[in-house]
Symmetry: C2
Subunit: 437 residues, 2 copies
């Protein structure tokens, strides 16, 4: 049984690995070989990647792929996508091609305000704290001037601080709700640094405020942090064309549009469908988020909570037909950065941003939303026509063959065979076994 | 301006890259070098990774790190974590160490049922479709016996099919709600294959059913797909200890427990806090999901929708003190696999599963939930004591130094300096600039 370890973080990479292989792999050489085969030959590059986080022992490969033929606001894009799931990149590329001939995608940034809170406990007289806040607000604003300096030069910074009474939901709970413009930065470190400074100043001023001590009800900061719920940082992406333009491969446009709209309506109605519908959207969005060095957990949390904002979890996309025009759109909160964080560090992130014509954060919001919309379009198109398994299993065939350790020759024969036959795990196994007999 | 491309997916990897570098990088050699420096020397290994998805042109590195000292249900674990964000792995390790001395983590799988739906349009007499369903249900069950065969041998398979009237929410909308037990497989392909087969049989039987044609109201399948909303596939993880055992570094246990519980209560109350609170939980969970080859988009969607199930998005964790005992717990839906998908393909996934003592899917549910709970514990502990920026920026220091292309010598001096001084981006820049003068 493995034993606890002390001072692990202080050990060198080599020592950490030795400890691991000894305690968890019975000193088996193979474990070491598995880790090492992923190390980069370039020591400096490897160190760069090791330093991203703590206790790094190897590089986890995710495929870095590309989906060409996206026309967004009239400009051509090839979208970099980082994802392990098969058929996502193929689906995005198909949707891009489909809409390329029908005017492409349009995007619009609706707003770019980020937010964070200083959460406060205060059980005293309400008028008193509001009066106190009005008095100290100028000092709170001044307290972050050093932190804000660079951001202000570029035109961003703190926008406002409001004191909000949240005591109805939780007795004694108030918040300083702070809003920010962080331009091309995601801004998490900037916002958190501002909030912690505001909190310190607020508490110091409160501690020396005679009215509070007189009533022995001094407000106390519980915690200070940015919010990943960003419904004031919104982007919209859409496609539209005449219903008859949707005609393709024997399906007439009207039937397709009707089935498509119905599928989206079902996702708007039923949570069990909505979750998977939105999961497919996130396949597209997260692929771009990862490729551009943004934080997918932040994006996921903000978007899914937004999907439930009316009290019922629902579809992020909308589809309708009006006056013979089919429109399909998405509107989502997205707080992204194209400077700071990993964007200046990870060579493939720099590559991805260059591929995307070095976008501003606002442009990147549009591109990510388009990737989500394209993904959803492709998924619904498959679901209401052939079903998804046919395409998905075709894309997945190579994984199955690799699992069976098929040779190049066997692979070629299998691909040939399955152009005309339905792929399933068992069918692939049977085919390869027959070949090998 | 880049031009559209035809037949892209048919091109070889080499041809795709040539097209990309020509059209988006002005044939700049550097772009090619950036992609190639991440290729693996082992051609066969590289091909394996290329085949995971489509149009792969390079490997995107995410750090593969480890967090030791997790005691879960009495057994020691070192948890593999794949994440690009600094301080997540350090926080997990700290929480593990903290609870190691206080009894460790406990987990409990509450249920393991997965689900999927065949979504149906039907505008006729309701009694008629329910009667029809009762008649054809045996045929629906039989229709998947081939697909189900292997799963049944192992003790899993389809559990039941129900016809549900959802017409109140959306006129004419019914569903075949199907439940499954997929054992150690995540089961997405299995469930989708079953559903598509059930849908075909249902539609065929309906088309030849005289009562429907007589009333010209034959039910029609809109789409069939699994659901990533899995509230019947639940796991719980928890820690508990006497309040006085929480005493540490000068903070007394009672104050800590009170502040901690208050912080969780705020996250239960305020959506802006809940989203970031849960985002931190997902930092831990997704790190394990990625390392073990599972699908984080599926997990994210299911969990966040679950967080909003009562009509208001809220905290996934709960904390309380009762009779002097502090309890902190999480209860989440998690549909995971330890066989199938990438688990048998990605060498580092195999490594991760081996490191975790080759867990069953149920055991992995517990481990992932523990990683989320540990992450949340560490985050709240920082937030209610020192704030998060101090620790986070210390962890982030190396990234800043790498961005400044600091030498080993400069790095050493900077680390020394910042053990006693507050890290900020500007402070690090100033320090290095001074050194270089």
């Amino acid at each position: 049984m493995p034993v606890p370890v002390s001072g692990f973080s202080k050990k060198s990479k080599q020592e950490k690995i030795e400890w691991l292989v000894h305690n968890y792999f019975n000193d088996n050489e193979d474990a070491l070989i598995t880790l090492k085969q992923y190390w980069n030959n370039n020591t400096r590059l490897q160190e760069l990647h090791d330093d991203f986080t703590e206790n790094t022992i190897s590089n986890y490969y995710l495929p870095f792929g590309i989906a060409p033929n996206f026309k967004i606001n009239g400009r051509m894009y090839t979208i970099p996508m980082v994802i392990e799931e098969s058929s996502v990149i193929a689906a995005a590329s198909n949707a891009a091609k489909f809409w390329l001939d029908r005017g492409g995608f349009n995007t619009e940034v609706i707003s770019t305000i980020k937010n964070g809170q200083v959460h406060i406990d205060y059980f005293g007289n309400k008028e008193l704290i509001f009066k106190f806040f009005a008095d100290v607000k100028p000092a709170l604003l001044v307290s972050i001037s050093d932190i804000e300096k660079n951001m202000k030069v570029r035109g961003g910074g703190l926008l406002d601080i409001e004191l909000i009474d949240t005591t109805e939901a939780l007795p004694g709970y108030f918040q300083l709700h702070c809003t920010f413009e962080t331009l091309d930065a995601m801004g998490a470190n900037f916002i958190n640094s501002c909030l912690e400074e505001i909190a310190i100043t607020f508490e110091q001023k409160a501690a020396s405020h005679p009215e509070f001590s007189k009533n022995s009800t001094t407000p106390k900061v519980v915690l200070s942090i940015l919010s990943n719920y960003v419904p004031e940082c919104m982007v919209r992406a859409s496609v539209r064309c005449a219903v008859e333009e949707l005609t393709e491969n024997g399906t007439d446009g009207e039937t397709f549009a009707r089935d498509f709209v119905r599928a989206v309506d079902i996702a708007r109605t039923e949570i069990r469908r909505a979750v998977t519908h939105n999961k497919g959207i996130m396949n597209g969005i997260d692929s771009v988020i990862l490729a551009t060095g943004n934080d997918f957990r932040a994006v996921e949390a903000g978007i899914h909570a937004f999907a439930a904002k009316e009290g019922k979890y629902t579809s992020l996309t909308q589809a309708n037909v009006e006056d013979g025009i089919f429109t399909f759109s998405i509107e989502i909160p997205l707080a992204l950065g194209t400077v700071g964080g990993l964007t200046g560090l990870h060579p493939l992130v720099k590559f991805a941003l260059q591929l995307l014509h070095n976008p501003s954060a606002q442009e990147l919001m549009g591109i990510a939303a388009v990737a989500g919309l394209a993904q959803n379009f492709a998924a619904i198109r498959s679901l209401v026509t052939t079903g998804i398994q046919k395409g998905h299993m075709k894309m997945h065939l190579m994984n199955i063959l690799n699992q069976l350790e098929a040779t190049s020759d066997e692979k070629e024969k299998a691909i040939q065979h399955f152009t005309k036959n339905t792929v399933s795990h068992i069918a692939a196994v049977n085919f390869i076994e027959k070949l090998r007999r």
